[in-house]
Structure formats: C-alpha cells, structure tokens
Symmetry: none
Subunit: 190 residues, 4 copies
C-alpha cells in the first residue's frame, strides 16, 4: 500500500505557481500542471477534487505562508522604527523570493475561482501589520492617516518595485534597498 503522498500536493502547487506566472490563470490547464509536476492528469484529482479546489487551496496557503514570515526577528521591545524596518525587510525579501506567489494572488482576485470565504480569511492575515502601524501612530512617529491607506501605500509601492526589478531581471542592490526603504519611511513619518 502506498499512502497519499503529501509531497505531491506541494509539487502540484509549485507547478501551478510556475505556470500562472508564465501564462496567467487564463492560460493553464490541469494537464499542463500535471505534466509540470511530473504526474499523470488523473493523479491531480487524487489530491484535489477539482481545479477550483486546487486554486483555492493554493490561494489560502500563499496567503497564510506569507503572514507567518513577516514578523521573523521582530522584537516588540525594540524602538518602533527598528521593528518596522525588520518587518519591511522581511516583506521585501519574501516578495522578491516568492514573486510567483504575488502574481498568483493578484490573478486570483477577479477570477471565477476564488470563493468569497477565502477572500475574507485572507484579509485577517493583515492584522499584525495593522497593529504595527497603529503602534507607530500611537508613538506619533507615523502620520495620522487611516491605517489601511498607510498599509496600501507601503505594500503597493513595494509590490510594484519588486515587479519592476523582476521584469528587469535583476535584484535590488543593498544601496537601492536602503533607498527604497528611505522613500517609504520618509513618506510615513511625521
């Protein structure tokens, strides 16, 4: 007896991310995913009841995984700016390393695949970031602007920069990272 191979779930997810980045959600088929993952078409259906569930589960995983990394090395007793910087750097690194996931998430919004429940859950993952910004505002280090707007500002700028460099086929130098952080921080601070 061969037990269900939890590894295969990961292989399928990985293959899906790669293909969505390349062709978009509109352009992928189960057969392609299977081939990319080194499996037969039917095998995909052992691990997922259908394409919908495959996409939704991947969506949920991507959302959750990112949230778990954001606060790595974050020390709540350190001064705000230092803590913010840590989290910001984590975010940047994660997004650069996992660009495919960002593309996938983006394509999922406005897709017939993602069900409403999944969307809501994923927003809750922003909460820790939300609290962080609130702290900065309480300490009067951050402008007294609606926190969600501030988060959109931070994440939007970062996403676009990651996207740009990705398509330029390069990485940000350390100097550039500092410069970009400077843009972001100067925008936020009082």
């Amino acid at each position: 007896m061969k037990p269900k191979d939890e590894n295969k779930v990961r292989e399928i997810h990985r293959a899906t991310l790669a293909l969505v980045k390349e062709k978009g959600l509109a352009g992928i088929t189960i057969e392609q995913i299977a081939k990319q993952a080194g499996l037969a078409t039917g095998t995909v259906y052992i691990y997922f009841t259908n394409k919908d569930e495959l996409i939704n589960s991947l969506f949920a995983i991507c959302r959750k995984a990112s949230a778990e990394v954001y606060f790595k090395n974050y020390d709540p007793r350190a001064p705000f700016k230092e803590g913010f910087r840590t989290v910001w750097m984590n975010l940047l690194q994660y997004r650069m390393e996992r660009f495919e996931e960002a593309v996938f998430i983006e394509q999922c919004y406005h897709s017939p695949f993602i069900n409403a429940g999944n969307r809501d859950i994923s927003n809750q993952l922003l909460k820790p970031l939300f609290s962080l910004i609130e702290r900065g505002k309480n300490e009067q280090l951050i402008k007294p602007v609606d926190t969600l707007l501030l988060l959109a500002y931070i994440i939007g700028a970062m996403s676009e920069i990651v996207r740009l460099t990705h398509y330029q086929g390069r990485k940000l130098s350390n100097k550039e990272v500092e410069a970009v952080f400077g843009l972001c921080w100067d925008g936020l601070r009082t």
Copy 2:
C-alpha cells in the same frame, strides 16, 4: 476588418472591461462579451478577427488613453512640485474613475493573450512621466534614486490605494487625497 460602426467597437471594449473586472480574464467568453454588449456572438467577429486581437486592441487603447490624460492642465513653466501635483492628481483621478482598466491591464500582464510587441509599446508611454521625474531630480527636489524605481514607488502606492478604496466601496475624501499625496511627496522629496 474594421468597418463603419466604431460605436460597436467601443461597446465591445466596454463589455470586456466590465466582465474582466467581474470574473477575470480566465472567466470570460466571447459569447458573454457579445451578450453584455447587446450583440450576437458572430457580430464580434466582424469587428475583431479573433479574441486575441480583441484583448490586445483593448490593452493598447487602455494604455494609450491613460497616457493622454496624465498631462492635462500640466504647465511646464510652473514650479516642479505644482506640476508633479497636477500629474499625480490626474493619475489618481483617472485610476479611480477607470478602475476596470487597471484590473484589465493587470490581468493581461501574465496572460497568453498579450503579445510582446504590445508590451514594449506600452512601456514607451511611461516616457513623459519618466522625464517629469528626471526634471525633479535635476532640480534636486527629488531623491537621487533610479527613476524607474521612483515611478514604481509612485504608481504602486497609488494603485494599491485605489484598489483598497474600490473594494471598500468608497471614494477618498479631499482630505485623504491630500494626505496620500503627502505620503508620496514626502517619500520622494530630498
């Protein structure tokens, strides 16, 4: 292949934008587009040779249209900050009013529809913005950071904020618009 009724072309484009926003590129069919535009399926093929061309032409139009609006009321003799502010406001207004186009463009980027040529052309439309930022850098009002990074910073932040408010089902108040401009400008300025 493009006879008289230029009106129908616009109807089809409009229908496509609405549907892509609702269901994503992955979820739309020619039949749906035709119905939404109040036409028969076959009629779409009188105005577009195929789906590919329909999407590509819409992509090109969206790109161009936006570029044309950016510099409305821009006076090159006015001080830099004033000019930048004018362009920034134009950008913001355009994106809020035509959110569907932003979604469409975004979905197109990783899709099997958009051909390489179209992608390159569209980037050239950024040139005026590019020059504007360069001017700010020359006048030492803007940080000496790679201009493309600065553009990504400006546009990324703005896009995300527009998206956020769109999904919140609201508009930015005048005060919020000023606050957001403040974030952006404080980030950029020396």
Copy 3:
C-alpha cells in the same frame, strides 16, 4: 439567422433510441449520439443542457407518446370485450413498432439518469388503462383482482412476447396475435 431546428431534437432522440437498443444505456456516449444523428458533438448541447436532460426528456416523451395511442379507435359505447380488444391491439402494435422505446424505458428504470419527478408523472399515464380494467370488473367480466396486478399481468405478458418475437427476428402472424389475445383474455375473464 438560423432558428433552432426542432427537427434536430427529434433526430437526437431517434439516434439515442437506436443506440440504447444496440448497446444499452451503459454503452452510449454523446459523441455516438451526435454522429448517429449526423451532428457535431457540440450541437447536441444546443438542444439539451446535458446528457441527463437528454435522457430524461426522451423518457418523458416515450411515456407520453405511447399513452396517446392506446385509445385510438376505442369506442366507450361498444361492449367491454370489444373495447378492451381494441386497446390491447393498439398496445401490441405500438410495442412491436416501437420496440426501441420499450428497451429504453426499461433501461431507464434503475439508472442514475431518471429523476424521481419523471417517474411519477409517467405512472399517471396508466390511468386510462386503469379505468378500463375497472370497468371490466364492474361489469363482472374481469376477475375481481387488484387492478394494478391485472395491468401488470397484461403488460408484462405482452412485453415479453414482443421481446421474444423481436429477437427471433419475426412478426406474429394474425393467428398468433389472436392466440396471444386469447391467453390474455382467458386469464382475465371471470
């Protein structure tokens, strides 16, 4: 503009009956049905939303069509035996001519296709036959046995005889028809 061709519905039904007789419900595919009807696969889906509906509609039609023929030339003022004979002959003729329909109906019972509603409706079609037998019982010409049992007796015997001759590749002679009617009538009469 080419309007939906009601003829095609009939073609598809006809093709389905032929194939079910040949291969059973278990052995038919939409592609086969389409080919047999001289259509493309997709065309079948213009007239039926799915295989299920195709089978169910055919089931309903077969049931209804038969009921309409049973009482042809039946004169309620004629003596009972004469009227019964007329109906019995109609039944026999119909079943011999439309053997395929009988096979189809038979296969449909115990199939995943037929939905409960359809089953119930079809039973109501037996009502006229039911009344006829009741009349015979009232006139004390027919044995005082549960009417449904009598109907099952009549129809079961007839069905099997039709089936037998069909597979023998022959028709009943006039003499045989009379003989079989004799079996049936002698069983029923008081």
Copy 4:
C-alpha cells in the same frame, strides 16, 4: 486468475447486484463495487481479469442458479397441473427473493458487456421449462400455441407482477398469489 477465497467472489457478485439494482449498469464503477464489498479496488482484479468478465460471470451464475431451483419438489409423476403449479410457485418465489438478479439480467441484455456466447448458453437453461409446457400441450391441458410464446406469456406476466409489488414495497398475500396463478393458468388451459 481465480485463487482460493471463493468467498470474495461471492461478495463482489453480491455487491454488484445491489449496485446495479440501485443505479443500473450504466452507473456503477469497479471502485464502488469494491467499496460495497469491503475490498480495495485492486483486489477485484485478483478475482476477475476485468469488468467484462465480472459482469459476464455474474450473468452466467444468475442464469444457472435460477434454473436449478425451478424444479425443486417437482414430481414428474404427479398430474400436470400440480407439477406446473409447483414450478410456477418456485419461479415466483425465486424472483421475489432475488429481485436484484432479475434487474441485473434485464440490464445486461442490451449492454456492451454480455458476449454472444453467454446469451445462447443462458437460453438453453429454459429447456426444462420448455419440456414442461410441451407435456401440458401433449396432455391437451394447455392451449396449442407456440411453446416459446407460452413461456414468454408466463414469465413476462410474472416478472411484471414481481416488479410491481417490489416497487410498491410489499409482498403478495397468499390469496393474491393464488389469484395471480389463476390468471396465468386460466390463460393457458384449454
């Protein structure tokens, strides 16, 4: 291909009969059969080379089994009517108890599974019944009608009555059994 555990073969057959009655031949899969029999999918293939053979073997068994029971308690020296009555009652009892088998046989007849050989063999099982009726005709107790027609009459009527009561969810009372036998016998007798 048929090793020890004859028990499992029976379990698989039993499971198949139950499922065919419920869903028809068109609706069953090997996986369902295995699950119903409490086995793994692969195990079925230890006892049967393929689905075809599974169905055919079950078909053959059902046919044979029934034939063996028909003449239980039949005394060839008893008067014809008594002997016929014994056989008729055996047939009735068997069909009521094993309704599933009747459904299965019926579904098999127009199916891509049953091979021609199996069909012919099964008809030979009717021979004892055939001889019985011939005896009745020789003794001039039974109408001089083609024997196969008489058999179809007897079995068809009985099948339909069993089916009717089965779907009514009830059994025939002793009185009803006598009444139905009366119908049949009065039809046959001279």
